[in-house]
C-alpha cells in the first residue's frame, strides 16, 4: 500500500522537493544546538542591528542577538505548533465526524449544526478571545489552534462514513456480531483516513501561518523564546533601519508553508483512487 502511494507521490517532483525541505527543516530543528553559530538569546550591545556579515550571516536584532541562530531555534516553534495543533484538530474532527456519520439521525444533525456554528466564527477572532483570557504561550496557542481547526476534518470523516457504512464489508462485519466501537475503529476509520492525511498536511501549513501571525501580534510564542513570527515583530519595529529582520524570517515561513502545501497536493493526487485507475 505504502509502496503504491510512494510510487505515485514521487511522480510529482515539486512535492518530492517539498518533502525534502520538510525533512531538512525537521533535522535543523532537532540539531539546533549543534547547528546554530551563536547562542540564540545572547545579547551583544556592541553589535546591535548590524547588517548581514560573515560573523552574522543574517545580521543581528535590536539586542545584538544573531538572527540566523534565532531562526534555527525558531524552527522548533513552528514544527511543534504545526504537528501538535493538527494532531488535536484531527483527533477531535475524526471522533465527531465518525460519531455523526455512523449514528446519523438526530446526533448527526446536532453535531453538524455545532460545526456550522463553529465555522461562523472568524477563527482568528475566536483564538484572540481565548488568548485574552489565558496567558499566551506556545502551549496555549497549540491547543487553541487545534480546538478551532477540527471542523473541516469532521465534515470529511462524516462524508466518508456515510458512504462506507453502506458497503458490503460493513454489513458482513455486522453479521459476524462486531460491536459499534469495533466497526468504527477497526473497519471504517482505517478506510476513511486518506482524505484526513491530506487535510492534515494542509492543516499543518495553516497552523504554521496562524502561529506566526499570532506571535507577530505578540499573542503567540513569547520572547525571549524565538519564533519566526515574533522575530518579525522586531522587524516591524525596526522597519526603516533593518530590512534583514523582516526579510529572512518571512522567507523561512513562506518556504516551510509552501513545502507542506506541495506535499499535501502530491498526497492528494497519490491517494485519489480515481486517478489510480485512469492511469493503467
Amino acid at each position: 500500500m505504502f509502496r503504491i502511494i510512494w510510487h505515485r507521490f514521487k511522480k510529482n517532483p515539486l512535492s518530492v522537493a517539498g518533502l525534502a525541505i520538510i525533512l531538512s527543516l525537521a533535522a535543523i530543528a532537532l540539531f539546533a544546538p549543534v547547528l546554530s553559530p551563536h547562542e540564540p538569546t545572547k545579547i551583544d550591545v556592541y553589535n546591535v542591528l548590524s547588517p548581514p556579515s560573515s560573523n552574522h550571516p543574517f545580521g543581528t536584532d535590536e539586542l545584538g542577538r544573531d538572527l540566523l541562530s534565532r531562526m534555527i531555534w525558531g524552527s522548533r516553534a513552528s514544527l511543534k505548533v504545526g504537528f501538535i495543533a493538527v494532531g488535536i484538530a484531527i483527533s477531535i474532527g475524526t471522533m465527531l465526524g465518525a460519531i455523526a456519520g455512523y449514528y446519523g439521525g438526530k446526533i448527526d444533525a446536532l453535531l453538524m449544526r455545532f460545526v456550522d456554528i463553529m465555522l461562523a466564527f472568524p477563527t482568528f477572532f475566536l483564538i484572540l478571545a481565548v488568548i485574552a483570557i489565558v496567558e499566551p504561550s506556545i502551549s496555549t496557542i497549540m491547543i487553541i489552534i487545534g480546538l478551532t481547526g477540527w471542523m473541516d476534518v469532521s465534515r470529511l470523516v462524516r462524508a466518508e462514513f456515510l458512504t462506507l457504512k453502506e458497503r458490503d464489508f460493513i454489513a458482513a462485519a455486522q453479521a459476524l456480531g462486531a460491536s459499534d466501537p469495533r466497526l468504527i475503529f477497526r473497519h471504517i476509520i482505517p478506510n476513511a483516513l486518506s482524505p484526513v492525511f491530506v487535510a492534515a498536511t494542509f492543516g499543518i501549513a495553516g497552523a504554521i501561518l496562524t502561529e506566526s501571525g499570532l506571535s507577530f501580534l505578540g499573542l503567540g510564542v513569547q520572547p525571549p523564546e524565538p519564533s519566526w513570527g515574533n522575530i518579525l515583530t522586531s522587524g516591524k519595529d525596526n522597519i526603516t533601519v533593518a530590512w534583514w529582520l523582516s526579510l529572512f524570517p518571512g522567507i523561512a515561513i513562506l518556504i516551510t508553508v509552501l513545502s507542506y502545501n506541495l506535499v499535501g497536493e502530491g498526497l492528494r493526487d497519490a491517494l485519489d483512487p480515481r486517478l489510480w485507475t485512469s492511469e493503467k
Binding site: 477563527t123 477572532f125 478571545a129 485574552a132 483570557i133 522587524g235 522597519i239 513562506l254
Partner: protein
C-alpha cells in the same frame, strides 16, 4: 423560492443562539473572570469591593441565569459597558464597522475581478504557460504570510519609494482638501490594505474557478454549443462561464469569516480604526463586554454573508429552489 428563503432565514435563529452560547461559554471559562481584571490593578481592593463588583455584573448569580440575562440584553442590542472607557460597547462597535466592511467589500470585489478571469483563462488554456504561471502564483498565494508581505510592501512603497502612506485611512491635513483630493488621499491609504487582504482570496478563488470551469467545459451542452457553430467566445462566456460561476458564489460566501478575521492583522499593521483593531485592543486589555460583542457580531456577519451567498446561488440555480 420564497419558502426556501424563509427556511434559510429560520435556520439562522438556532445558529445565532448557538453563537451566543459559545461566546458566553468561552468568556466565562476564564479563571477569575472580569472581576479579577478590574481588581488586579489595585491589591487593596477589599473582599467587599469584589463582592460589590460581582453584584454589579450579576456574577453572583448561577451561570445559566447570567447567560439568559445577558442574552435578554443582547437581543435589545445592549452589549453592556466597556471596561476600558465606560462607553457603550454597541456604540464602540457601531462606529468601527463601516471601515471594516468597506475594506472587506472592496477586497471581495477585487478578488472577483481578478480571480475569475484568471481561473477562466487558465482553464480554457489548460497546461499552457499562463496556466502554469498561475498555478505557481496560487501556491505562493496560499503560502505567503500576508502580514509579512504587508511589512515588505511597506518597506518598498512606504519607506524606500515613499509612494504610499503606511498607516491610517486619511492624512492629517485631510480637512483642508477638496473632494477630489480627499478621495485620492483615501484611495492611496486603502491600496495596500485592500490589496493585501484580497491577496490570499485571489489565489484561492482563481484555483476554484479554474477547476469549476474545467468541469463545465467537458459537459455535453458545451459540446452542443460548439457543434451548432457558436463563436468560441460565446461558448465560453454565455454557456460555460454562467454555469461554472454558480459554485464560485458559495466559495465567496465561505471566505467571509477569513476576511473578517484577517482584518485584525491588517488593521493592526496599518493602524486602521476598524473592528479588527478594536478587537485586538480589547483582547489586550481584557475588555470582556467588547470582546463578547465583537465575537457575536463577527459571527453573525458571517452568517449573513453565507445567507447572501446561498440566496444568490438559489437565484441562479433553479434546482436548489425546487428541491424540497
Amino acid at each position: 423560492m420564497l419558502s426556501y428563503a424563509l427556511k434559510r432565514l429560520l435556520l439562522m435563529i438556532p445558529l445565532t443562539f448557538g453563537i451566543t452560547l459559545i461566546t458566553f461559554t468561552v468568556i466565562h471559562l476564564a479563571p477569575g473572570g472580569p472581576v479579577e481584571v478590574e481588581t488586579e490593578m489595585s491589591l487593596k481592593a477589599s473582599a467587599q469591593a469584589r463582592e460589590n463588583l460581582k453584584k454589579l455584573y450579576g456574577l453572583d448569580k448561577p451561570l445559566h441565569v447570567q447567560y439568559f440575562d445577558w442574552l435578554k440584553r443582547f437581543v435589545k442590542l445592549d452589549f453592556g459597558i466597556s471596561f476600558v472607557d465606560g462607553k457603550k460597547v454597541f456604540d464602540k462597535i457601531k462606529e468601527r464597522i463601516p471601515v471594516t466592511l468597506t475594506i472587506n467589500l472592496l477586497s471581495l470585489i477585487l478578488i472577483m475581478a481578478i480571480a475569475i478571469p484568471i481561473g477562466v483563462l487558465s482553464a480554457t488554456k489548460q497546461y499552457s504557460i499562463f496556466d502554469k504561471l498561475t498555478t505557481v502564483f496560487v501556491f505562493l498565494g496560499f503560502s505567503t504570510p500576508t502580514f509579512w508581505l504587508a511589512l515588505i510592501l511597506m518597506i518598498i512603497f512606504g519607506v524606500s519609494l515613499g509612494l504610499l502612506p503606511i498607516s491610517g485611512i486619511q492624512s492629517i491635513d485631510v480637512s483642508g482638501m477638496g473632494f477630489i483630493d480627499r478621495l485620492a488621499d483615501w484611495i492611496k491609504h486603502l491600496i495596500l490594505p485592500v490589496g493585501l487582504s484580497a491577496f490570499g482570496g485571489i489565489a484561492g478563488l482563481s484555483r476554484y474557478s479554474r477547476s469549476s470551469m474545467l468541469e463545465v467545459i467537458r459537459q455535453d451542452y458545451v459540446r452542443t454549443a460548439r457543434a451548432k457553430g457558436l463563436k468560441e467566445s460565446d461558448v465560453i462566456i454565455r454557456h460555460a462561464l454562467r454555469n461554472a460561476l454558480m459554485p464560485v458564489v458559495t466559495i465567496l460566501g465561505l471566505s467571509v469569516p477569513g476576511l473578517i478575521g484577517g482584518s485584525v492583522i491588517f488593521e493592526t499593521i496599518f493602524a486602521i480604526p476598524g473592528m479588527g483593531q478594536l478587537f485586538y485592543a480589547s483582547a489586550m486589555s481584557r475588555d470582556y463586554p467588547t470582546i463578547m460583542g465583537i465575537l457575536v457580531i463577527g459571527a453573525v456577519l458571517t452568517l449573513i454573508g453565507n445567507l447572501i451567498a446561498d440566496m444568490s446561488y438559489a437565484l441562479v440555480d433553479p434546482r436548489i429552489r425546487v428541491r424540497k
